[in-house]
Amino acid sequence: MDDLLREFVGETLDMMDAVAGDLVAWEADPADRSGLDGIFRTVHTVKGSSGFFDLPRITAIAHAAEELLDVLRSRKGAPTRASVAMVLVAFDKIRELTHAISTAGAEPPGDDSRLIVALLADIRTDDRKAAQAGGALPDFLDAKPTAGDADDGHDGPHLPADDVPQAWRSVRVPLELLDELMSGVSDLVLARNEVAAQLRSRGQDVTEFAAFERMSQLLGAVRSTVSNMRMVPLRHLYAPLPRLVRQVADELGKQVTLSLEGSEVEIDRELVEALRDPMLHMLRNAIDHGLESASARAASGKSLVGKVTVAARQVGNRILISISDDGGGLPIEAIVARAMKAGHVKSEDIAGMDEARKAELVFLPGLSTAQAITGISGRGVGMDVVRANIERLGGVIRIASKAGEGVTLTLDVPMTLTIISALAVDAGNQSFAIPRSVIDEVMLVSSDAVQRHDMHAAGLVRIRDRVLPHVRLETILGLPDAKADGADRALIICRQGGGAAFALEVPDVRDHEELVIKPLPPILLAIGLYSGLSLPDNGQPMLVLDMEGIARRHIGSATVRAAVTPKAVEQSQDDGRASWLTYRDHNGQPWRAVPMAHVERICDIALNHIHASGGRMVAKVDEQLLAVAAECLPETSASTRRMIRLSDGYRTVMLPASQIGDTVELKAELAADDIGSGLIGMALLDGALVELVDSYGVLASHGETVTGPHTQQQHDEHEPAGGAQPLWIVDPAGGEWAASFLVPTLTAAGYQVALVSDRQKVTSDGAPVISLTSHGPAELLTLEAAGTVHRMPAYDRSTLMRIIEEAPEAAPNRSKRKGRGASA
């Protein structure tokens, strides 16, 4: 028996006792109908819950009892004694069955038709006749002459309540009582600490008192029990969903699979109750409006079975629950039209809105876009009500829609007054808490893995192979630096939404603690640095840092940029800045950028024009087969894939990009040599990290694998490389790297290398020229070959060699490339 059924058993037993009392009270004083609604509601609840658990006997009895009660309620005056007795018998039967469920785990088989006929006898003449003919009514009343005192129902055929195993019983407790208990236990812990402090101040060793130790342990155990009392796993919220989805799908004649993720995420019981209705509503919407009909799905090449996913995760002390469907996306135009018709927006407002803003319009009142009112949804309860409910909980609701791919609704709700595991860090003279859930790693600044790169205003730090934005806690809080640089400070690597991370430098890390989070008063919430308050065991109030807010403010969020607003930006090479196009290869991945110089255009390729062959991906573009720079592509429900067509003049490759960002001017802040394959460095864009893609590397590794007829022809005309070719290296710093590494390597490869300190000293036109900056191999080097200027990291020797080797032969064949006049 699962928790839910156990809960049902406990609740039903409690309620049956209570309503029996109420019913008798009403019978005694028919004028006082105050308890009547409660009785009605209870019976209705039992009927509903038993239906949910598939307990047909209880459902049938409760249904009949409800009908009888309805008639009794509508009749003025006192209920007949016989009717009340019948209802009480029904209550007893429900109790009896519930007991049986609690021991056997299932409803025992049996026939209740006589009881039901007797219940309905009072209201239906037919049934009355049947009952009288069968003698049902007197039978029941005879069998239980004390039925009027049924709340004393431990006699007769019922199991005494004491026989019910303890574990199966539950008590409903108001949350305030739990809060009181929790704060009482917290007080006890503080008092214990006070006693310990006083004992110590008298020179006594606390650890010697076995009794004191024992008390501490017990207190800890009690506290964790109390904490757990409020928290329930989301399983409880999820439990009714499969059934609901099945039912709704059946009614609509759709096939739906539901997948539930994150059922182990714990959430305040109070929130489970508050979220239930909005969740059910959104699921109904997803199935009814979100998923297309089977025929429409077939037409767009999707699986006939629609997919709805409910996923939950904890982010800091918030819970994110997303409900996604793989339907056709929101009918944005229809929503806009409705919103305008309803007078919420004007056409000039619409002009300035991007798709995301337009999608948000569904949260306005009165915007049901359902074509037909389907009994399931569109009954006037719109997303505006859902949003209002979520906001009442201190939550946020977001919507993301992609035409042809579906809609994702995300509920972002707090889990206030819950326990979080946190790391206490010191800054100034106090401690702050960082939720453990956002922390990836904690390390000392002095650790070997950490390399500082304080560049410009925005700090960066390299930790092993990751380059992360870096901020100091004191800077964020406006506190003076506690310790001199290089002292034993700690770095906390924090996750940010969307996978990005940053490093928070703190003077000291103290301890892990389980903290009870209390909500912030508005005046402190407005500061924007904190998300909650806590009182740890030492009795010193502690503020919980709002890491999401801090990241947003001090790091910037890479997820903010989405709109495509191409700007004509001139490429300028003098300060190392260049024009880059930002994109994402999958949603949720960090932003990347490719040099605009290599971007030919952005194409949408039909899925049936993309093939995997021989472990490589190929796309058919303009009657030409081009390599796709990816090992595999993520699943998609769209009919096309967006790709960037990259070319350096003689190699072309398609780069998958689910999301195109912006054309921006970037400078590689960090030409890291081990950032990972395919990148030449990192740059900061509005404070967010952008990975700079080694476009040449991409072209080199993929561009040749599959070639179109056009490119193939070029290769056919190639002359083999031979003889000693002239090659220039310009190294203004005169560093060791060029002289002792580059020159020998290139000489060994058969080049006649000339090393000079100034570009002006290069005398032969057309020969490849490798120019280093004054920082030597630490910065990008410039390779001029065949009239094309490549900037590349010095470490990428294989690419370097390949360009140099191929440039002289390739150049004469590339008549369409500008600047080819420079070739020999």
Binding site: D187, K518, P521, I523, L524, A526, I527, S534, Q540, P541
Partner: protein, 148 residues
């Protein structure tokens, strides 16, 4: 407060050199102010956080709100506004007294006091400003944009 019945109880205390009375019904307790933890980034009127019997209080500096210099941290009057606990930092708490005839001020008070919308009463021949304790919470909140 003009409706105040005769003889209601008030907490008589001192903010700066001014005698102030809070309706006693709103005051849950008066405690000695000890170990207040600062809140970096908070508006100046917020002195910090204090814990009284496992309750967390946001400590509001009453003297600051009425443009008086910070006095000694004497006492805190504990109040609850919208479910959040606050401690009003007071230099001195004199007594709980009965006040009669609480009436509007005959003239405008100094601007610093004006925003608290005080009323006037008489205690043992001395004028006393009667202030709704909640106002000390509203004001720093409204001024937050300037202060922060």
């Amino acid at each position: 407060m003009s409706e105040t019945a005769k003889g209601d109880l008030y907490l008589l205390c001192r903010i700066g050199a001014t005698s102030v009375a809070f309706p006693a019904a709103a005051i849950e307790a008066v405690v000695k102010a000890t170990s207040i933890v600062a809140i970096p980034g908070a508006p100046a009127a917020v002195r910090g956080l204090a814990a009284i019997r496992s309750r967390l209080l946001t400590v509001i500096d009453c003297a600051f709100i009425v443009d008086r210099p910070h006095g000694a941290d004497g006492f805190m009057a504990i109040i609850t506004v919208s479910g959040h606990g606050y401690g009003l930092l007071l230099e001195d708490v004199i007594d709980v007294v009965e006040l009669e005839a609480v009436q509007p001020l005959p003239c405008s008070p100094q601007p610093a006091w004006q925003k608290l919308q005080p009323m006037l009463a008489d205690y043992a021949g001395e004028p006393v400003l009667v202030i709704d304790s909640d106002r000390f919470i509203d004001i720093p909140q409204r001024n937050l944009s300037q202060a922060a």
